[in-house]
Subunit: 336 residues, 2 copies
């Protein structure tokens, strides 16, 4: 019987843009903790997540649709359901949490336990198979570092979007590259092969056409799609591209370190083991210029106990595991 339902943004969630909502249903009796054979009862998809960048009404409609579909595919309905965890980009403040809980309350009957978290929480749980301990670093269009201690304290760094300085994000890296092209063009910065490589990719003939291109469509994901050009330019030896990537690595490592430090995940001597779950397209680039590897190198110099994890299940499964774990804890506490 289906008992847990988890929903999350797509495999590279971010606070920057709306994406795809994934909803999975998992059974109550989780016998296998092996992530490779994790038993998912059903899975459904719908568009749009970030309620900061798309309308609230659109998000509510998409949520109800995807959750109903997942229940239906599992041959189930709300009466079988015990708990739901919705892990959503754009949940940055308790008031966001309360508002989204209100949406869920309209969808589900009162016996269903409801939990709302930032999308980083599901990403962490997807690496730790539901245990909320350690730190997760997500770098897609946006970026965020989020952590939990075993006793439930939490902390985050970054994840505030491009205006508020997420310079390690895919958007941030690409915007710095575009800026470098403009600066080289107008005489404020060194020449760079980014100019040729980016113009070629965008099929533009001159850097001043980048202004029109940039503002023709405000989507952050569209800018972030330039990251592979920055990586390949750096791999080919371009110094400006290299500096941009190293700066991003520094920003991202600083975000993880801030979370680890505040939560004391490294212990008093700084050497305790803790998981660092690495998620998102920018970290999974699998190129010779490996951003994820560089970040781990920097962090392990300060915190040798860091244990990097690349999740084998999707974040939605992480969200479902969080829902289930919290439900079990609730039942135990109420039986006391």
């Amino acid at each position: 019987m289906m008992k847990g339902c988890g929903s999350n943004g797509e495999a590279t969630p971010s606070t920057a843009d709306g994406g795809v909502i994934v909803c999975v249903c998992i059974p109550a009796s989780i016998t296998s903790s092996s992530s490779a054979q994790f038993p998912v009862l059903s899975r459904a998809l719908a568009g749009c997540t970030n309620h900061n960048s798309v309308g609230e009404a659109a998000v509510k409609v998409a949520l109800e649709k995807v959750m109903t579909q997942a229940l239906s595919k599992a041959g189930s309905n709300c009466s079988d359901l015990r708990a739901v965890c919705l892990s959503l980009s754009g949940v940055n403040h308790p008031s966001d949490q309360q508002r989204v809980l209100g949406w869920l309350r309209d969808i589900f009957p009162s016996h269903v336990k409801l939990f709302v978290e930032n999308d980083a929480v599901a990403a962490l749980a997807s690496g730790t198979m539901g245990k909320l301990h350690g730190c997760v670093l997500i770098v897609g269009t946006g970026c965020i570092a989020y952590g939990f201690t075993e006793d439930g304290r939490e902390a985050r760094a970054s994840g505030a979007g491009p205006v508020l300085g997420d310079w390690g994000s895919g958007y941030g890296i690409a915007a710095q590259a575009l800026t470098a092209v403009i600066k080289a063009y107008d005489g404020r910065g060194p020449q760079t092969n980014l100019t040729t490589n980016i113009l070629k990719m965008l099929e533009l003939s001159s850097p001043d056409e980048l202004i029109g291109w940039t503002y023709a469509d405000p989507s952050w994901a569209r800018i972030a799609a330039l990251v592979p050009v920055v990586v390949s330019s750096a791999e080919a030896g371009d110094e400006v591209a290299n500096r941009i990537l190293h700066d991003a690595v520094q920003e991202l490592a600083d975000s993880v370190k801030a979370v680890v430090q505040r939560l004391g995940l490294c212990g008093k001597d700084g050497k305790n083991h803790f998981p660092l779950v690495m998620v998102g397209g920018v970290l999974n680039a699998n190129k010779s210029w490996d951003i994820g590897k560089e970040i781990i190198n920097r962090i392990s110099k300060v915190y040798p106990g860091v244990r990097p994890i690349r999740p084998e299940v999707e974040p939605a499964v992480g969200a479902a595991l969080v829902a289930w774990n919290r439900y079990v804890k609730y039942v135990k506490e109420s039986e006391r």
Copy 2:
């Protein structure tokens, strides 16, 4: 008789946001070159300018309206008109110029000479009373440095909007300040009084509410309105605010230097006199932390011949003077 018509964005034009279009009509016989008594025949206003950030149709409607009004107020019509210069933010490329010329051609009969320029051109002309020589630096919500040589070569730096690295702009300064607050909050940066001062101004109770505030309204001008808080924080001795302003001064001085260098405005020995017209709310702050003065200090160390000018007429008068000067030149050339 009215012969020149000039139109321009408002007193602090920028490439960042749409603003107000100002249109003035000036007489053919300009006897006074004294800017204080400049004879304007009529003046009209309308909303919205930047065709990168508002719809093209809306801009065309606003343009036709404001120009018709100005002509009507001057007791005149198109048959009296000799030349129009439209100096518009968002004109960054010859293709922009051609498109906007097309709009004007639909409005005016064929005998009227039409000129389309970036809004920086009118701003320069407002300081030099129509002569296109020297450099202008505009810093409002956006920023741009634009220059002309006496023989008509031109160059620009910055003015590409916030995504493309206009960090010296009002938007850029404010975004850096917001970033500093977020970084102090999540443990990535030093504590700063910007936190208290910005939260107080925005009537928010915690830095994490800044995320919702920032993305609730995408207007760059709304972010840039925080500049006075950054300036007052720096004046009160806050080191983070001071660093942000010094970084902005460096960016802006670099923009001016790039234009001066490319055009050779400083001559071969680097000591030639050239005008530097300073325009925009960020430069006119008139505070003890004087951004404009700091920029001039940096530039005069490299180019001692720099002659700062604060315009006494509005940019629209500058645009009208450009229209008239170009018309006179055209008539002279065709009489040869």
